[in-house]
């Protein structure tokens, strides 16, 4: 691109770089925005549509905000909403899925630019290896998506009731304890599940994770809807790769450990078995009560034996898909290329204390001799655009494209030649990214909490920022027994900060003192981070936010003093028991009167008097929208596009699009009974004819088969050029056909016939 020359749009500038499918999807989303802004799409349907594109709500988007004295109405311009009670103009959050956290330098550059152009200059690394941008306006999202698509990233299905980011150990491929590198499997699984018809009808989200081994924490398989741990097995002298296959793990208010479905699923069986799980979940998972709609509730309800039986039964019925095994070619070809030759660190005593501290906590030797993984510790997952660009340059010099985001909200650089470590450290320090203490008690994790999340009850980021300072002041990380402990906080019980698997975990709640509210955190102690998030902590007491630093000081102090040799923190808390922990912390539950100490009545990092007035309707769950409604919505968009072609005088395209719109609506209906219908016009027509037309289910009460006949007539007419009046009529007929499809669907009941 050249300087101040007249520009087109991002769509035209990037036309040659955006894969056709992604470009089309983004165009479709833009059209849906257009339709919603005219009020032509229902707000719930649009909300789920945008969520499935990663476009999320944010605090205050209902048009209200408490200013510390009263709740004010934010006077956004009049416009249709973008979801129930969600103002169109209110800024929101965009979640960018980064499968297994793997980023290239080019992608980092684009993320830096997007944060500057559309957000506030900060990219936020989440606990699921995503990047979130806050304060983004919906009208910027199509261009934001295009710029991502041009570097191979999609936001599709980053939110909503869909398969979320596929996460994996950031050390996959370089770790000494792994069975094999799970990276290419994570990549292939993400591609296989993205937009798959079997994952469109979930009642809630579905999070997969992969680990290379069972003992370390990295993949956190135990808390995932689908968890896969790499394993090998030798049969007839041949080493087979496979996975221990878990389902139904999850945190949330009541954490559930994942259940083992099969202790060894071969790599050839991995995708079909996953597909079968998705089908069972889509068919039998809770839809009405979204508080119980995650797969963990289904597994708990059925029992793992019955769930396993159903999955195996479903697996047997699946039509063959060549992609089940074709991905193995990519797995075999998968390779990372280091930028530099391996080398050894010259330890001549000349290194600074800062380097030595950093080396101790942030550097890990790789499985490959002469290489190391370096963790770049980010404050609560935040990185500025300037830092992101610099880090891309540093990666270019030292490691190549081998950069990954971690679930502890950091970034790792892999394949660093050990000989380069001093220079790398200096380069990181120059951009304020060389801080020691990664993966220690000084490396805290937090969800966004009340900073930006609509469901936030207390300020988890405010708390963890304060705790970071205190941990530093008390120099807790220098105490050997404490160094490896983890502190994690969530703004509410939904557990996005993963507090259940922290040694010291906190989640936001509110309590009343007199007639005032006081921000509190529930203290959860002794969770296990290792063994893939091996066990959950003990909920103890609700403590006012302002006393939480004292909780940390007391509990860590007692652990240092009273632990038995080699006793873990989890075991220590278990030994102490809930009663003793309560006893020990009880005095910290007291809240002074407001007049005595008003500081208790506002939260960390937020001086406003605390309130729950800003608490909003969450979008985590999204709206539960059956697949058929998405199909019908797509047909509406197509007929809208047909009209645009007609208005522009492009008759052949208008005619074709009108026919396609009818086919899409017909397919949506057919899919309620026949999920595996191919995207082939003849198949759709045949199935529609036998299932809906001949059975008269599509007939109109007064007009009989009239609307179905529009579709059949359009098929017979084919692509032959029609006169303008004929094409206009075809577009009108398509509109009527779609309305008839909606009427038919309504007669069938909300979820249609069972899939």
């Amino acid at each position: 691109m050249t300087g101040g020359a007249m520009k087109g749009t991002w769509a035209t500038e990037l036309r040659d770089r955006i894969p056709e499918v992604l470009g089309r999807e983004i165009d479709i989303f833009e059209t849906q925005m257009d339709l919603r802004s005219r009020g032509d799409v229902d707000e719930k349907l649009f909300a789920e549509t945008r969520l499935r594109r990663g476009v999320y709500g944010q605090r205050y988007d209902n048009g209200h905000r408490y200013d510390g004295e009263r709740t004010r109405h934010l006077e956004y311009r009049e416009h249709p909403t973008k979801g129930v009670d969600t103002m169109w103009d209110a800024p929101g959050m965009v979640r960018i899925k980064v499968p297994y956290g793997a980023l290239t330098r080019e992608q980092m550059d684009v993320l830096a630019a997007l944060a500057e152009d559309y957000s506030d200059g900060i990219s936020h690394v989440t606990t699921r290896q995503d990047i979130q941008l806050h304060f983004v306006h919906i009208e910027d999202t199509p261009d934001l998506m295009r710029r991502l698509a041009a570097v191979g990233i999609t936001t599709r299905e980053a939110c909503g009731n869909s398969v979320r980011n596929v996460t994996a150990c950031p050390l996959a491929g370089v770790c000494k304890t792994e069975a094999f590198d799970v990276s290419p499997y994570a990549d292939a699984l993400m591609k296989f599940l993205l937009g798959h018809p079997d994952v469109q009808d979930f009642g809630r989200k579905f999070k997969p994770a992969l680990s290379g081994c069972a003992h370390e924490a990295c993949g956190l398989v135990n808390m995932h809807d689908l968890g896969l741990i790499a394993k090998t097995r030798t049969e007839n002298g041949k080493v087979l790769r496979g996975f221990a296959f878990y389902v139904g793990g999850g945190l949330g208010a009541i954490p559930h450990p994942a259940q083992l479905v099969d202790e060894f699923v071969t790599e050839e069986e991995l995708f079909p078995l996953t597909q079968a799980v998705c089908r069972v979940f889509a068919r039998l998972g809770e839809k009405a009560n979204r508080g119980r709609a995650r797969i963990k509730f289904l597994v708990a309800k059925l029992g793992i034996e019955e769930f396993r039986r159903l999955v195996i039964e479903e697996r047997a019925k699946l039509p063959h898909d060549p992609r089940w095994t074709s991905y193995l070619v990519d797995v075999a070809a998968y390779k990372e290329t280091p930028a530099r030759a391996p080398g050894g660190l010259v330890t001549n005593g000349g290194q600074s204390a800062g380097f030595r501290a950093w080396h101790k906590t942030n550097v890990r030797a790789q499985r490959q001799d002469g290489y190391a993984v370096v963790t770049v510790k980010l404050p609560l997952g935040d990185i500025t655009s300037d830092q992101m660009r610099s880090l891309a340059d540093i990666a270019g010099e030292f490691t190549g494209d081998n950069v990954r985001l971690t679930v502890e909200q950091n970034i790792v650089l892999r394949w660093v030649s050990e000989a380069d470590l001093p220079r790398l450290h200096a380069a990181l320090e120059a951009v304020d990214l060389g801080q020691a203490g990664a993966e220690t008690i000084a490396d805290l994790t937090s969800c966004p909490g009340t900073d930006t999340c609509k469901l936030g009850i207390a300020s988890s980021r405010g708390l963890t920022a304060e705790l970071s300072k205190r941990v530093q002041e008390l120099d807790l990380a220098s105490e050997e027994a404490l160094q490896g402990l983890r502190i994690k906080a969530s703004g509410c019980f939904n557990s996005c900060g993963q507090h259940h698997i922290a040694d010291l975990g906190f989640y936001g709640i509110s309590r009343k003192k007199g007639n005032r509210l006081v921000p509190h955190f529930q203290v959860v102690l002794g969770g296990k981070w290792t063994e893939n998030g091996g066990s959950f902590g003990l909920a103890t007491l609700a403590i006012p936010s302002k006393n939480i630093p004292e909780v940390v000081r007391r509990v860590t102090g007692r652990f240092v003093k009273e632990r038995e040799p080699d006793e873990s923190f989890t075991d220590f808390i278990g030994r102490l028991g809930k009663a003793e922990v309560k006893n020990f912390l009880q005095d910290l539950t007291a809240v002074p009167a407001y007049e005595e100490d008003p500081s208790y009545y506002s939260d960390w990092g937020d001086p406003r008097v605390y309130t729950m007035d800003d608490y909003g309707e969450g979008e985590c769950a999204g709206e539960i929208v059956p697949r058929v409604e998405f199909g019908l919505q797509a047909s509406e968009r197509e007929v809208f596009e047909a009209q645009l072609f007609l208005d522009a005088g492009d008759l052949p395209k208008a005619q074709d699009m009108a026919y396609r719109a009818m086919l899409t609506a017909a397919k949506a209906l057919v899919q309620t009974e026949f999920l595996d219908i191919r995207d082939d016009a003849n198949d759709i027509l045949r199935e529609f004819r036998t299932r809906f037309h001949e059975t008269k289910r599509f007939h109109d009460k007064f007009a009989g088969p009239k609307f179905a006949n529009y579709l059949f007539a359009a098929q017979e007419a084919g692509a032959d050029g029609g006169r303008p009046d004929q094409v206009r009529q075809r577009v009108q007929e398509a509109q009527l056909f779609i309305e008839a499809a909606y009427a038919c669907y309504e007669k069938m009941g909300t979820w249609g016939a069972p899939a």
């Binding site: 101040g4 020359a5 830096a112 152009d117 306006h137 935040d382 304020d432 406003r608």
Partner: protein, 206 residues
């Protein structure tokens, strides 16, 4: 492409931003600005804005600092490149094109700077120097960071600075790398007070 066309594009962007630096960077404490900015919202002190929230990034070195997020603007007390200062950034809707838009961005920035200088909670510790100003456009499509954008923007920018300071700027230079958002560093050659500049704007408008 005519010169007129090439000017129109960068200068029609709504994403103008202007920054003034503080006189005493060592006296800056980002944390103390958070309650101040919340109060500004409560007391509706930012004219022509619909403020939504305050975002605090004190923990991030050389970052966006503390931000008042508004519907059509962001006000940052940022520390980018280690140089603390107040930055106004337009968002989404252009408040005038070309010179008019630039002047309006200056006006919004100067009003906020005056508020901060007079802020009782800060005891007059935040004062701004006006001999150096940054002007930028966060819009890589219309205003990539290169000499051509500077050439396209320069006449309007020179004219706006001259009207504001009463004399031409001493220098204007591209201050951003090709991957960064477009940014011009302006040496004005004089450092009138924030109040004086606001007075000048009022006189010009009047």
């Amino acid at each position: 492409m005519t010169p007129v066309e090439s000017k129109v594009d960068a200068l029609s962007s709504p994403e103008f931003n202007v920054k003034l630096f503080v006189e005493n960077p060592a006296g800056v404490d980002l944390e103390e600005l958070i309650p101040v900015f919340h109060r500004w919202i409560r007391e509706e002190l930012l004219e022509d804005e619909l403020p939504i929230d305050v975002a605090g990034y004190a923990r991030v070195p050389k970052g966006p600092g503390v931000v008042i997020v508004c519907d059509h603007a962001h006000y940052y007390f940022d520390e980018r490149a280690g140089r603390p200062g107040l930055r106004y950034r337009g968002r989404r809707v252009a408040r005038g094109e070309g010179e008019e838009g630039i002047t309006r961005a200056f006006r919004s920035l100067l009003r906020a700077a005056a508020l901060l200088e007079k802020e009782p909670a800060l005891g007059g510790r935040y004062r701004f120097r006006t001999d150096q100003v940054e002007f930028g456009i966060n819009d890589r499509l219309r205003a990539p960071s290169d000499a051509q954008t500077l050439a396209a923007v320069r006449p309007a920018l020179e004219s706006a600075v001259k009207a504001l300071y009463g004399k031409p700027a001493k220098s204007m230079a591209l201050a951003s790398g090709p991957r960064e958002p477009f940014m011009v560093s302006i040496e004005t050659g004089t450092s009138p007070s924030v109040e004086a500049l606001l007075g000048q704007l009022a006189a010009v408008a009047g």
